[in-house]
Symmetry: D3
Amino acid sequence: MPYVNIKVTREGVTPAQKTELISGVTDLLVRVLNKNPATTFVVIDEVALEDWGIGGLPAEEYRRRHKA
Amino acid sequence: MPYVNIKVTREGVTPAQKTELISGVTDLLVRVLNKNPATTFVVIDEVALEDWGIGGLPAEEYRRRHKA
Amino acid sequence: MPYVNIKVTREGVTPAQKTELISGVTDLLVRVLNKNPATTFVVIDEVALEDWGIGGLPAEEYRRRHKA
Amino acid sequence: MPYVNIKVTREGVTPAQKTELISGVTDLLVRVLNKNPATTFVVIDEVALEDWGIGGLPAEEYRRRHKA
Amino acid sequence: MPYVNIKVTREGVTPAQKTELISGVTDLLVRVLNKNPATTFVVIDEVALEDWGIGGLPAEEYRRRHKA
Amino acid sequence: MPYVNIKVTREGVTPAQKTELISGVTDLLVRVLNKNPATTFVVIDEVALEDWGIGGLPAEEYRRRHKA
């Protein structure tokens, strides 16, 4: 009965990539812990860049400074 | 001081249904644990079908296969 | 496929009360949104009083001040 | 490596306010626990008023009643 | 900057299995979304069986009934 | 009505430090968003080092490699 929540920044994740994440995580739980896929949930949250902070800054600003 | 988070797939949940979920969960916490409703929070998240995985598949695909 | 997370302070919640919370929330989702109980998860977290803040204070200190 | 999630009602929080929340929480973790900001994440969720319950009611209805 | 939370029932997950879950999920995010592992967090929560509900019952009771 | 969840590794956080985190986060929400502290919740989760992954490794192993 696992429940997995994946949070990533909202930057054009495609439905095909989401499908890969869902099947990849589920396979991992089956392989490592012998879980039943029928009761394995995966919920993906895409988070706007202005809502994600790292290094004390919104993600976009953080990247700008750390690339310069 | 309970905090309850309800995640459901985004499939046309109405404001009236949300109101019922909020009052139903709060009543349950008052009845079972004698909690104070004034400090009971309920947060509802609607999750797009492509962001919800079950059985290693996005929810829509999962339903299609299990109905056939 | 709902997922519900209930967080309450750790103050002697009994297994029987947890059973009531689980069945009560599940029944609510069946009744209001016609969800399938077999794919409805409820996860209960008990949180130590020192880990729960309200009004800018740990829960125990908050209660002491607001009872006096 | 802290992870902080801030949930507030969706009522016009500006990007500048989000930036302040991110830097304020990160500074707090640096000051109190000596955490490394480069591995401190802050994720902000804005929740629609109809999705936030308090006192057994959606937030808007709750406020209306408690102001009268 | 992904953040992944894995919740499983507390049933003797070993440190080696946790290590496999952490590396497996991180590899998946690198492969599918080209994420940077240095800023990919994975948090595992083990949940006591009495705190996990499915089908309106605590997990242990649910399994008992569905095996008979 | 904010709800804040702070997750940190379990490494001897003291009750006094938790009190500082709770008051600091609450003050921040009052100052930046004019929130009411009486309905501001802060929940702190301490996560065992073996349950926290970064860089594809459990936190302890990650630190060992990145210090050498």
